[in-house]
């Protein structure tokens, strides 16, 4: 019978027969999910493997080479890499639980199921700038005012930042328009630079962009309170939730031309060689949340300010800008994957 078409209730007995399901997860919040899942479906043991996207990919590839399969469900970010190295290579396959099929827009269903959305967007220190973001156009970051004071993680060390760079190029036209809006003149491209997005990246790097190695460093640099002239930079909107604990004053710049950054998905997929096909599907179904306002126990760990459920029926977190008001670009993993390496090479030359 067609497992893909089965409802959770139909899958349950089959899954219980299988008895276990292994989830590779890029976040440790899987532990909370595990507890909830086992409470919801007694008799099925969920095993959560917690490993970064990169490690998951390495592991899946190595397992495939050895002809073994231990994973049933893959919960992973880094969509562009996942598409090329796992999906195209046939190591994972898409699955959309029929229950949520209608609640997701197409971009979240294919090529892989997106469970929620995260961001890499322009953030500033709201203590130093109580009246709102100090910039209203990305191109301002390339000006003298912000020389040496724009900070982000090295895009050649973190895939999501590379995706951000790629997005600038994919949105070159918007970038060109924003340029004109900011400087009042159409953009002139440097030799060898063939679009406004790349020109932006180039100018940004030339403006003494400060690179660090982790998002937390960016947060601390931008957000630490007590700074008279804090830098500005790209980081996760959801990190704002740590403001109080960490002594930060992070705020998102949501009124920026043409956009403040990217919104990208966390993906759920089936391992192609899963030994527990029913339980795997059941787990994905569970991870997509129940039909309550907040997604219930399965989604609870992910119901945080600054991250958004892909399901249209889960209410936005009250502490954050709702997704529809958010100006970040949603990435297109397929398009991103196509030019990602090329952009990486360009950035490499810039460094």
């Amino acid at each position: 019978q067609d497992l893909d078409a089965m409802s959770a209730e139909e899958l349950l007995p089959l899954a219980q027969e299988e008895g276990t399901v292994t989830v590779y997860s890029f976040t440790s919040r899987i532990a909370a999910v595990e507890a909830a899942f086992e409470a919801a479906y007694p008799g099925i043991d969920m095993i959560g493997y917690d490993a970064s996207s990169t490690e998951q990919i390495a592991r899946l590839q190595a397992e495939a080479a050895a002809g073994i399969a231990t994973a049933d469900v893959i919960y992973i970010s880094d969509a562009p890499v996942v598409l090329t190295q796992l999906l195209d290579a046939g190591l994972i396959e898409a699955y959309v639980p029929p229950r949520v099929d209608g609640l997701l827009s197409d971009e979240f269903k294919s090529p892989l199921l997106s469970q929620r959305l995260s961001t890499k967007v322009l953030m500033y220190n709201e203590e130093a700038h109580p009246d709102g973001a100090p910039v209203d156009n990305l191109w301002a970051l390339t000006t003298e005012d912000w020389a040496g004071r724009v900070i982000m993680v090295d895009p050649l060390q973190r895939g999501d930042y590379l995706d951000l760079m790629v997005e600038f190029v994919l949105r070159a036209d918007e970038m060109a328009a924003a340029y004109e809006a900011h400087f009042g003149a159409p953009i002139e491209l440097d030799a060898g630079v063939d679009n406004a997005g790349l020109q932006f990246i180039t100018d940004l790097f030339e403006n003494d962009l400060v690179l660090v190695s982790s998002t937390d460093d960016v947060n601390a640099a931008i957000g630490s309170i007590g700074q008279s002239n804090p830098p500005i930079g790209f980081t996760s909107y959801s990190d704002r939730r740590d403001n109080e604990d960490e002594g930060w004053a992070l705020q998102v710049a949501n009124e920026v031309e043409p956009s403040n950054g990217i919104v990208f998905p966390a993906l759920l997929a089936l391992s192609t060689n899963t030994q527990n096909p029913a339980a795997a599907r059941l787990a994905i179904d569970f991870l997509m949340g129940d039909d309550s306002e907040t997604g219930g126990a399965g989604f609870a760990p992910f119901y945080v300010a600054g991250d958004w459920a892909t399901r249209s029926d889960i209410a936005p977190h009250p502490d954050a800008v709702p997704l529809e008001d958010f100006i970040g670009w949603s990435i297109d993993p397929v398009a991103t994957a196509e030019i990602r390496q090329e952009i990486a090479d360009q950035i490499l030359i810039l460094q």
Partner: protein, 582 residues
């Protein structure tokens, strides 16, 4: 027993040169454990869809930033750190082992610690003193005093060099101290008789007779420095300084692993060159036999008036490289805000019950249900790998020390060093691919403790080889020969003669392995089934969620385990070498 002749049955004819069977045995072992995974990594880069990576890395417009500049930086770091570490480590080792400096044991313990403190903590410690406003956020203590710290002192090569030296010198210390402990004091006394001053004796006699240890120490610290990611990433990136390690990490991270592996292979090749050179130095006709069959006396240098200045210098080094990072680390596990490490301390992250307002309701590490099981798993893993790694390392070290020349020895030497330079993730992946599936009569090891042990052993055996060899080379050959005459077999001699004499070096190697595997993440995370996670994985989980305090608390737990192991090793040490008592 008046018969002269061995009966015909006893006769065993060797038409092989001495040592060949041993060499071949060792070669097979490391061929399987080390060469196979490395070759797999190499072949990965030669696959049709990744072969272009070679061109990209070596011969394209990208090469400059992808390879050459990072390579240059890496070599500066490697050589600089190795030099610094050997000097500082050697100096401290001499003080602790050979002189009557006050608080010898304490200094000795402190000097082994920096390696156990994660290098990010050392880098943070540097930042907390010297950080300037370039990146934003909190500035360091000195800028807080109103001093203006230039970029070169805050970021880039200089601080990275210093931090890595402060982190790795303890490796050199451990190896060199083990070697110095075996030097008959009459060699030093003979030098004293010539009228040579302390420094002269140190440079002219002590360091050279400990040359194998120095080469080992230099090799280990070189490898450590060139493969360290945390320090250059934290301190170098803001001024766009890249090393092979940061590049390699980045390439794998952004999905260009073929390029990453090519970089790794090139790093291995370059390092192999240095290693070969180092080995060349110590494999000549020269002997380093300082433990001889004429029991020399064990005596300490009296420092006289220089005692206190030297003590002050040693104490300062230890303080700066251990106490400061440890304080920062502990502070960061009790301070609610990472930007104000010394305010609002709370023990919540240690002993707090679950409060929804903090860290999404995580309970303090002591109440964390995982922590106990993770600690047990971690310690057992550490112990098992330390034992297996030491045994394999001992075999290799013995082979290398006794048969120093020849192609086979060279190969063994190089091979047994390489894992130090391979990124853990690549090594782990190769292991899964090679040994994950059932092989003939052997069951699939994937996901088992056994695979992790085997991989960990192979991955960390270089430490045991380097520390072991340095000491074994100092055991005069006639001690083994006189044991051979008694009819004792190879293993008997090994356990009764070589191991006790080299015990300090072996213990040092085992300790380093223990600390490494307990802290290691990349290999463990890839190979282990984390139903019962180890501590490092736990720390990683917290860190990736942004619960830095928890992560740091676990790091402190790991540090405490490491220190406990050191203390234990020290104890066994003194017990196991009664003839070195003073």
């Amino acid at each position: 027993m008046a018969s002269i002749s061995p009966s015909a049955g006893q006769k065993r004819r060797f038409s092989l040169p001495q040592g060949l069977p041993l060499k071949i045995g060792v070669l097979i072992a490391i061929g399987l454990l080390i060469a196979a995974p490395l070759l797999r990594i190499l072949f990965e880069t030669l696959a049709p869809n990744s072969i272009s990576a070679w061109n990209d890395v070596v011969l394209s417009p990208l090469s400059r930033n992808l390879l050459w500049i990072p390579l240059g930086n890496t070599m500066i770091l490697g050589l600089g750190v190795a030099t610094g570490c050997v000097l500082i480590g050697g100096f401290l080792a001499w003080l602790v082992v050979m002189t009557d400096i006050p608080f010898r044991r304490t200094i000795g313990l402190m000097a082994t610690l920096p390696f156990m403190i994660p290098s990010f903590a050392t880098a943070l410690a540097w930042g907390s003193l010297f950080r300037n406003g370039r990146v934003g956020g909190q500035t360091g203590f000195l800028e807080g005093l109103g001093l203006s710290i230039p970029d070169w002192l805050s970021w880039g090569m200089t601080p990275t060099l210093i931090v890595l030296t402060a982190h790795y010198y303890s490796l050199a210390f451990t190896v060199i101290a083990a070697a110095l402990a075996t030097i008959n004091s009459d060699l030093v006394e003979a030098a004293q008789m010539t009228g040579a001053k302390r420094g002269r004796i140190f440079m002219g006699i002590i360091l050279p007779v400990a040359l194998p240890a120095i080469v080992s120490g230099a090799s280990l610290t070189f490898a450590g420095a060139v493969s360290n990611f945390a320090a250059p990433a934290l301190l170098g990136l803001p001024v766009r300084m890249q090393t092979m390690a940061t590049r390699l990490f980045g390439m794998i991270e952004i999905g260009q692993s073929a390029r990453g592996y090519v970089i790794a292979i090139l790093l291995i090749a370059v390092s192999a060159l240095f290693l070969w050179f180092g080995n060349k130095i110590i494999s000549g006709r020269r002997s380093y036999a300082t433990i001889t069959g004429k029991g020399g006396r064990a005596k300490r240098f009296t420092l006289g008036t220089a005692k206190y200045p030297l003590f002050a210098a040693a104490a300062l080094i230890c303080l700066l490289t251990t106490v400061v990072p440890v304080v920062i680390l502990i502070a960061s596990s009790v301070a609610p805000s990472s930007s104000a490490l010394f305010s609002n301390w709370t023990l919540h992250y240690w002993i707090g019950a679950s409060t929804p307002t903090i860290a999404q309701g995580q309970a303090g590490v002591f109440y964390n249900p995982f922590i106990v099981s993770a600690t047990t798993t971690t310690i057992s893993l550490g112990l098992v790998v330390a034992v297996t790694g030491s045994i394999l390392g001992l075999m290799i070290a013995f082979t290398l020390a006794r048969y120093r020349t020849g192609f086979l020895s060279g190969t063994i030497n190089q091979l047994s060093f390489l894992p130090l330079l391979v990124p853990g993730i690549a090594f782990g992946a190769a292991y899964i691919a090679l040994f994950g599936a059932p092989m003939g009569p052997f069951p699939a090891l994937y996901g088992t403790f056994a695979l992790l042990v085997i991989a960990g052993t192979a991955y960390l055996v270089p430490f045991a080889v380097q520390t072991g060899r340095a000491v074994i080379q100092q055991v005069s050959g006639d001690l083994d020969e006189s044991a051979r005459l008694t009819g004792a077999g190879f293993f008997r001699r090994m356990t009764a003669i070589t191991v006790p004499l080299a015990s300090r070096g072996i213990a040092a190697g085992a300790l380093i392995i223990f600390v490494k595997i307990v802290r290691d993440l990349s290999l463990v995370v890839l190979l282990f089934t984390p139903t019962t996670p180890v501590l490092s994985v736990l720390a990683y989980r917290y860190a990736s969620e942004g619960f830095t305090q928890f992560a740091n608390a676990i790091t402190v737990v790991i540090l405490v385990i490491s220190i406990a192991a050191t203390l234990l090793a020290n104890r066994l040490q003194t017990k196991s070498q009664p003839w070195l008592k003073n």
